[in-house]
Symmetry: C3
Subunit: 269 residues, 3 copies
């Protein structure tokens, strides 16, 4: 049985040494916070979305994040261009289908991106992930969650069908490649009171794919690390303003001892 706490710490340490560039084509709400999260975990962010440079920019990157939180059709074109170039160069692409299932545009554009770009990991809440399989999601703001349990079987089948790893986040996070699945139970309810924590989770997953060749392990350990940072922050503050500040601090200074004791990742039976 894999020692996920050990693996998590190893990924954190390697990341902090390697400082990979993470290219984001993401939404306007979280550009600043995901850039800061990228720095806090020890990687380097670049945000670039012009169709005239995304292919060149992604060629310098360790991983590419595509996030449709404030999508337009033009922006999706840039995403597809960058994603296809990343695929050619074997650079991992991580997808965050924000709001898929909520509007027709988001669902159809998410599916269009998926048709054109091969994803290393897709990170979303149950409604978003299920909508990619044609299940009708039910959404109330992008921060809302259904009970993850409803999504387990569908997500497993969908991962196999899409040939990718799905990271379905909620009260507990479920990560599956269709063959093997794990649960991550780190995290804290206050994380839902800060905008962009889902998007930050995606960024951490992307950074971990640059140091961990197994997408399932990369995604699970990234979510464990991020959730643990949330738990640490909640010890410092019970209100969202100071909690968010503490969250960036915790991502930066979480130490080996804390990681070894705190990570809660288990195989799905």
């Amino acid at each position: 049985m894999e020692d996920f706490a050990q693996k998590t710490w190893q990924n954190i340490e390697t990341l902090r040494k390697k400082r990979p560039l993470i290219h984001h084509i993401t939404n306007m709400v979280v550009m600043n916070t995901t850039a800061n999260a990228t720095l806090a975990i020890g990687a380097s962010p670049v945000m670039a979305h012009s169709p005239d440079e995304v292919e060149e920019m992604v060629s310098f990157a360790g991983a590419l994040v595509l996030n449709i939180g404030t999508l337009t059709r033009d922006l999706v074109q840039s995403m597809i261009k960058a994603g296809q170039r990343a695929n050619q160069l074997s650079i991992p692409v991580i997808f965050d289908p924000v709001g898929a299932g909520a509007t027709s545009l988001r669902t159809s554009e998410a599916l269009r991106i998926l048709e054109k770009v091969k994803m290393q990991v897709i990170r979303g809440n149950p409604a978003e992930i299920l909508s990619l399989g044609g299940e009708k999601g039910h959404i109330k703001g992008v921060e809302s969650f259904q009970e993850t349990i409803e999504a387990v079987e569908a997500a497993t089948l969908l991962a196999a069908k899409l040939g990718t790893t799905l990271a379905v986040t909620g009260k507990e996070d479920f990560v599956t490649n269709g063959n093997r699945s794990v649960w991550v139970s780190n995290g804290h309810p206050l994380m839902k009171q800060v905008t962009g924590t889902g998007c930050i989770a995606t960024t951490v997953v992307a950074a971990f794919t640059t140091v961990d060749p197994d997408p399932l392990s990369a995604a699970a350990t990234a979510l464990g690390y991020f959730g643990l940072a949330g738990e640490k922050s909640a010890q410092r503050s019970g209100s969202p303003g100071s909690f968010q500040v503490a969250l960036f601090d915790a991502l930066y200074d979480l130490a080996e001892e804390e990681v070894r004791k705190g990570i809660r990742i288990r195989e799905h039976q």
Copy 2:
């Protein structure tokens, strides 16, 4: 005589239970902070501006915020589309005419939006509000204020003419529906040292219109609540970085006792 402190607490409590979705088509400067403010007060934010989805997105919302802080002509088209759909569905639309009166584009686009969309509340500083009535404003950055007193009569007439509620914020806030007017004297000067506090005020007003059917009462109690949160934050910090953090904390954790004691709203004589 209405007990505004009681009404404010009732609105806060109902909002925290109901968690309505607030759809924002807003400026790029404040997307993150207004999303976080929406969460802190107990509502759910969604930012979406593509013309291909705004009509669908707004149909899920409890209220719609239109804010022209970084407007382009394309963005205004999306605002009008979303606003007209909201009007059809009787979803309150709240308008923040950032910088109206400062440039011809902002003034003319603000007026164009007003012609096409019926607003539940318009929130702005005196220069912005007066420019909607054809008065020439005088502006120095979007955070600047004239003395509110200059705007009282003009605002009252304008509210009647437009058939809407105007929330004119400044040292004291003046809220009028043309017939009845109130003053809100909560707030703290440090709020002007943080970008986007005007926009957050608009967001809080929008959220309150989902729980309070009287736009005047919704706007006044929202501004009282937000101003009181500013006063509480100023007790914790006298510098803008930590003040802003404390402001989100205060929006989240302001308690009944504090609200009942602290709200200062009075009828205009």
Copy 3:
């Protein structure tokens, strides 16, 4: 020999009294933080990029910041329009060529802007600055730096050739007008762990050009002040979340005594 500490304090004090409007056409990642930084140093921010209003908006401004961090060709058109109008009105234009040298688009658009708009100061890291002279930069995210020493001679020649002042920031900052050069050794490594600190440096330089007619002195004292604020923040926090909060506080409340003791600017020999 000039007393730079005295000059720095004088600029800070004048700025806090004058509260000039700083018009930014900047990137989406830092719009919020640079607006907050503008307020914290005692100036007024406005962000406006529509081609239909930038010429009018800039006419109200004390200085104009052009920053290509998330450029598109359309946005560059707005930058050129605003910059040319500022030139006509003798309003200082400050340029931040984020990522120039990293992609062909950024390098060529930066050069195109430079051809059309006369800059008072250009602020960038060595790779960005050198790319403006045709030197091939080497970049890893916009926050990375080469050793400044490599850039000294090339920067001095380039400043003379472009007829502008260059502020090359790194471990130490090098400011040159081609004729006279100074070193600024204020700052702290944690500043690189927060996104947008380079962009904030540019904003502070822009604000200082509205109170100091010598671009070299304006840029050097601005960078000294900002670096000193970073040093003060690092005394309060060793992690990036709380460090960033402390940085805005320090920009706002740095006092005369601290400035007089802390500024480290010296002539280049």
